[in-house]
């Protein structure tokens, strides 16, 4: 297996008025293709900042980040947008679907921004929905779907562009335990059968247990790295 994420000495400093707040103080980490990583740690430990940086939503103050052997630590905003579009799929705690738009159109969204023709958009979106078992619900709007179904639409959206990496920020945070188990089963299946790399932030140990590897953050540093 080859390296997908490779960070060395990442730091992130936020300016809050006159005070500098250091959210990350030197994080070096390598994640290989096909890994299922659970990121844990208390609030304010820097795990969200880390996720934002490896998700190319934010840039590090210093340090180096290689995604798929490409240095993305100081790319322009437009280049970062293109990388997010092609290589990364996001799954959020609060689903973050467009509320007045059908499931299908939500899933199509990433394809809209890389110029795919509408026929291909449709085909790929339908097959992504099929993958998460929601093909027959494609014309429902998010408020007509249950929480678990909404999160599966979000996963379909994350998958639609065949990304190399899925970043999930507390994906089960708003779900009951039964739905959480179903969702984790889906993640496990995508990871094993489709060889998709997943990095997932979670607070719950039983959810983290689905991962092959558990990384613990504290005060902006990695304090523990459990590989199975």
């Amino acid at each position: 297996m080859t390296g997908l994420i490779d960070t060395s000495d990442l730091t992130k400093v936020y300016k809050m008025g006159d005070v500098d707040f250091t959210a990350l103080q030197g994080v070096s980490l390598a994640i290989k293709k096909g890994e299922f990583v659970a990121v844990m740690g208390p609030s304010g430990s820097g795990k969200s900042t880390f996720m934002n940086i490896i998700g190319c939503l934010d840039t590090p103050t210093s340090g180096k980040y290689l995604l798929d052997k490409q240095d993305v630590s100081d790319l322009s905003k437009n280049d970062l947008a293109a990388i997010r579009n092609k290589k990364i799929g996001f799954v959020f705690q609060s689903f973050n679907l467009l509320s007045k738009t059908s499931a299908l159109e939500n899933v199509e969204l990433p394809l809209l921004y890389n110029g795919s023709p509408s026929k291909i958009r449709r085909e790929q979106s339908v097959s992504a929905l099929r993958l998460v078992g929601l093909e027959e619900r494609k014309n429902h709007r998010p408020n007509q779907l249950s929480g678990g179904q909404q999160q599966r639409v979000a996963i379909a959206r994350a998958l639609v562009n065949n990304p190399s990496l899925i970043l999930a920020d507390e994906p089960t945070g708003n779900l009951d335990s039964q739905t959480s188990i179903e969702l984790m089963t889906l993640f496990k299946k995508l990871n094993k059968e489709n060889n998709i790399t997943i990095v997932m932030v979670t607070h719950e140990a039983d959810i983290a247990a689905y991962g092959d590897r558990r990384i613990y953050f504290k005060d902006g540093r990695i304090v523990k790295d459990d590989k199975r």
Binding site: K77, N78, A81, N85, N96, Y113, G115, S118
Partner: protein, 408 residues
């Protein structure tokens, strides 16, 4: 991201908040409608004036007799009989920049036909007059120079006189009495409409000049005329003709250098083009007042778009997370604003056209809905959309994705 998809997204976003979108559009609708109605009314007024100028005949110069001063009392124009038929003949013979000359002597008289009677203006003139005023007959024919030379008792009737004396009867060949003197009707003039000062030009009778001088409005001054109408041979010659006529008449009237003229030459076209100029300024003024409301409408768009950007911060974050570039977000919000403005502009054109029509219907004004006004208003509303939509759209495109996603 392609334009069609962007426009679709914009229309969807606008239809989610129908009430708000339509109220925002209302500003543009009112603005565009006001611009169209104002321009239509303004250019209608100008068209009206141009028509009046045309009805008067072009390149006309009027020569009026001068003022009489009697014991220090100045009496006003036309009080002394300084202009005569011979002056008119001299102008026709000697001033080359003039193509037609028609002396005129008129007065009000009671006209009787059968048991009908009517008071109207009776004008004595020469046959040139009708060419000069570009005023044809609809039946019969214009009296000739021979009628003028022989002071025959023939008359041409205006349409209003025909209606009042004859009703539906054909007046041609009948005899009417003007101040008890019988006149034979040799022709009926075409309808001419109102003069620029609102006079009904069809309420008139025309007879040979000499007949008027000898039989109807005779004074102790033989050959006196009320005024001389002349037509310059071309618009460029108006100034020349004015100077030539002045020089000739000064010479004929033996006026010493340095003394005041005993006549005055007035350029009618100039007066009317001043009126036309005033109408033009008026329509520009009305148009600019109306465009203020378009600007107010534009500010309404900007306001709503700013609110919309704030409300949809999270949506912007989601779009950015899945790969929308700053440009995509900018275009999305800009197109939304432009769609608002263009739909508003389209409806505004309809409302404006209808409003103009209502104005013309109820106020009886002439209006002129020009393609130019429509294109102007439409273009203006699109530009308003771009101009006032740009700032909110740019604001949206510059937001940081992380902060948008965190926004509650």
């Amino acid at each position: 991201m392609n334009t069609i998809a962007t426009v679709k997204i914009a229309v969807n976003a606008l239809s989610i908040n129908k009430m708000r979108s339509s109220l925002t559009m209302l500003g543009i609708i009112i603005g565009v409608a006001a611009v169209i109605a104002m321009i239509s009314v303004g250019s209608g007024a100008r068209a009206q004036i141009s028509k009046e100028i045309a009805s008067l005949g072009s390149n006309l110069l009027m020569v009026w007799p001068g003022t009489a001063t009697s014991g220090g009392l100045r009496m006003g124009f036309g009080t002394t009989p300084t202009l005569t038929s011979d002056d008119a003949k001299a102008i026709a013979a000697e001033v080359s920049s003039v193509s037609f000359v028609a002396p005129v002597l008129n007065g009000t008289a009671q006209v009787v036909y059968g048991n009908q009677n009517w008071s109207t203006i009776v004008t004595g003139t020469t046959s040139n007059f009708f060419e000069l005023r570009e005023w044809p007959v609809v039946s019969g024919k214009v009296f000739t120079q021979r009628d003028v030379d022989g002071a025959t008792k023939v008359a041409l009737l205006g349409q209003t006189v025909v209606e009042n004396l004859f009703g539906n009867e054909d007046p041609l060949g009948n005899i009417i009495r003007i101040k008890k003197i019988p006149f034979k009707i040799v022709g009926v003039l075409a309808r001419k409409g109102q003069s620029p000062i609102g006079q009904d030009q069809d309420d008139s009778i025309y007879i040979p000049l000499t007949t008027a001088q000898k039989r109807l409005f005779g004074t102790r001054f033989p050959g006196m005329v009320r005024m001389i109408i002349t037509k310059a041979s071309s618009p460029d010659m108006i100034k020349n003709a004015e100077a030539d006529i002045t020089a000739l008449l000064r010479q004929r009237h033996h006026i010493m250098a340095g003394k005041e003229d005993d006549f005055s030459v007035r350029n009618l076209t100039e007066m009317l083009s001043t009126a036309e100029q005033a109408a033009k300024i008026m329509s520009i003024l009305l148009g600019s007042i109306a465009s203020v409301s378009l600007i107010v409408g534009g500010i309404g768009i900007m306001n709503i778009m700013l609110v919309s950007v704030t409300e949809r911060t999270r949506e912007i974050g989601i779009r950015m997370a899945v790969g929308a570039r700053a440009r995509d977000i900018l275009m999305q919000f800009l197109i939304e604003a432009v769609v608002l403005a263009i739909i508003g502009g389209g409806i505004g054109i309809g409302v404006g056209a209808m409003g103009s029509w209502l104005i013309s219907y109820f106020a009886g004004w002439e209006i002129d809905i020009s393609l130019f006004a429509i294109l102007l208003a439409f273009g203006f509303s699109a530009i308003t959309g771009i101009f006032f939509g740009f700032y909110p759209a740019r604001k949206a495109s510059r937001m940081a994705p992380v902060e948008c996603l965190r926004y509650e």
